[in-house]
């Protein structure tokens, strides 16, 4: 072990697929990709040290998910710009689109263009920004139904914050569990396990079509142990939150957990590959 990292062979054997890669998360750059590419380059040391096989990021596709009207127009009129990162790293990147829950019509069109007919594998429901809405909002429900028809993956941003929500558009794991119980055949990923994971895990425990994602909060000890105990390793997917979080913070949560090596493989990649398999089989 070097600096806390397992040997290269062990890391390769984990077959790490990152479900939550967040380069230039709120704005890809005024030309549609510059900051995105820069942040991906910034993450490469960690990606290579950790031997990550694949990373999934959440693209803006010109449907009003940023606060920059010029960028939105650019991405709408030149959609090929969205694909630039994939041209650079065709065998490393996976993609989902950020949906605008305040604009259902454009989001439905984007679902057809990018998920049904395009290369994207699912959607991201944001917790903040102009595209955010609470996951129980009726507009969100229309989008869930369409994603479900397409077999896509739904990543829902969640947090359970001490003192309550900072915005009514945020969603909690409790609300996601309510939504998911209405669509038992659709899998939902509860991003960040609610942040305050002791309650987040409890909130989704009895909703088997909700998986939790591991990134976005400090490397608090005991998280993966509790999640594995309460949900089972098959309901946990790894996320890196690179580059705004570190591989140290995010990978350490899983590789140091007091669980079996097979359970670590479930979390670090196997579960996510299985989730993506549904839509991949239709493409």
């Amino acid at each position: 072990m070097t600096f806390g990292l397992p040997p290269t062979e062990t890391l390769r054997d984990y077959r790490i697929w990152d479900s939550y890669f967040t380069p230039a998360f709120s704005h890809p750059g005024t030309d549609g990709s510059r900051d995105l590419i820069k942040d991906m380059e910034r993450s490469m040391t960690a990606i290579q040290l950790g031997h990550f096989e694949r990373l999934c990021y959440f693209a803006h596709v010109g449907i009003g998910t940023t606060t920059d009207p010029a960028l939105e127009n650019l991405l709408r009129t030149q959609p090929q710009l969205v694909l630039k990162p994939f041209e650079r790293w065709p065998n490393r990147l996976l993609g989902m689109i950020q949906l605008n829950l305040q604009n259902t019509n454009d989001s439905l069109k984007a679902l057809n263009k990018w998920v049904k007919d395009g290369p994207m594998l699912g959607v991201y429901f944001p917790g903040s920004g102009p595209g955010a809405a609470n996951c129980l909002n009726p507009k969100a429900i229309r989008l869930v139904e369409r994603v479900s028809e397409l077999g896509g993956v739904i990543m829902q941003h969640t947090w359970l914050k001490t003192g309550g929500k900072r915005s009514p558009n945020e969603s909690t794991p409790i609300e996601l569990a309510i939504l998911a119980s209405r669509y038992p055949k659709q899998n939902f990923i509860c991003a960040h396990a609610g942040g305050e994971w002791e309650q987040g895990i409890r909130a989704v425990r009895d909703t088997p079509n909700v998986l939790i994602e591991t990134s976005g909060f400090d490397a608090t000890a005991g998280f993966i142990e509790m999640a594995t105990r309460e949900l089972g390793s098959k309901r946990i997917v790894f996320g890196s939150h690179l580059p705004s979080r570190s591989m140290g913070t995010e990978l350490a949560k899983v590789i140091t957990a007091q669980i079996s090596e097979e359970e670590k493989k479930d979390i670090l990649g196997r579960n996510y590959r299985k989730l993506l398999g549904v839509i991949q089989s239709r493409k």
């Binding site: 290269t8 390769r12 993450s43 400090d218 570190s246 913070t249 350490a252």
Partner: protein, 292 residues
């Protein structure tokens, strides 16, 4: 991107190229930020001293500056510090760092015990949990007294993300800006910030307060440590993990994830802490300047 044409390629694609990182762990590594005993709000996998020390040995951590979780809520700090001292006595790698609460009557008694009879090299303060600000006069008095007694002061900015704290016991992040005043007033003072996840504003503050040391435990972002080094200078960054609350490996892995040369890794993980612990006056950088 997984398109139809690529599915087979995905299944057979070789693993990404590896980085054979040239760095190796320094022969001595000092973790300046550890706490013993039980976190008040849940059990932690490594909250027994034997397990924690075994982990440090596995990681190659040779010296650990240990405070006590009990200091967050206990009022009888003398017995808190005595238990900490006893736990460290038969462990050569553990260096006890006692707690003082300057809002308590006769806090100087605790300070004198820690830095005198108990032989501790410094004390750890928890303003967020103990209910005072660094701008309060009593903090200045404590810093001045500790400095006269030859001890350093660690200031805990946070123990836990404010968003995940208990609903009934919430501790705000401590504002470090008043340290500017005290570090000017007390030029011999040695102060280390613990557990700060620094914003751009925090980095500017730290950069402006000469001699202030900062630990790496919550310096997140894939290049967070190198950003901190660029902002405040290499000689003021000290390795810390905030374990066992945080997973010990997290801070350790960040040291190679961030692009800094081996000499700087050694400075952060060993030399700066040695200098901070042993120096009773100014930073290494200032001493070097004085020697020129």
């Amino acid at each position: 991107m997984v398109a139809a044409s690529e599915r087979e390629k995905l299944a057979t694609m070789p693993a990404p190229p590896s980085i054979n990182h040239p760095l190796s762990m320094p022969s001595r590594v000092i973790d300046t930020n550890v706490s013993l005993f039980h976190w008040p709000f849940r059990r932690l996998p490594l909250d027994e001293v034997n397990k924690l020390c075994a982990k440090f040995q596995q990681l190659g951590i040779t010296e650990v500056w240990a405070g006590s979780f009990e200091a967050l809520l206990h009022r009888d700090l003398r017995t808190v510090n005595e238990r900490l001292l006893r736990a460290c006595q038969n462990r050569g790698e553990l260096i006890p760092v006692g707690a003082v609460n300057p809002t308590f009557p006769d806090w100087k008694h605790d300070l004198n015990l820690c830095l005198g009879r108990f032989g501790m090299p410094g004390v750890r303060l928890l303003p967020g949990y103990h209910g005072y600000a660094l701008g309060d006069a009593v903090f200045g008095e404590l810093l001045e007294t500790a400095t006269k007694l030859g001890g350093f002061v660690q200031v805990v900015i946070a123990m836990e993300d404010t968003r995940t704290q208990s609903n009934s016991i919430q501790a705000p992040n401590v504002d470090p800006r008043p340290l500017q005043h005290w570090m000017q007033q007390i030029p011999e003072a040695r102060v280390q910030i613990l557990n700060c996840r620094p914003s751009a504003s925090d980095l500017r503050t730290f950069a402006s307060i000469h001699r202030l040391a900062v630990d790496t435990s919550r310096v997140d972002g894939t290049d967070g440590v190198s950003t901190l080094v660029k902002a405040i200078g290499i000689d003021r960054v000290l390795y810390g993990s905030h374990s066992p609350f945080l997973i010990p490996e997290a801070a350790c892995i960040r040291m190679i994830e961030t692009d800094i040369p081996g000499a700087e890794v050694k400075a952060i993980m060993q030399e700066n802490a040695e200098h901070f612990r042993n120096s009773k006056s100014t930073s290494r950088q200032n001493q070097q300047k004085q020697g020129q």
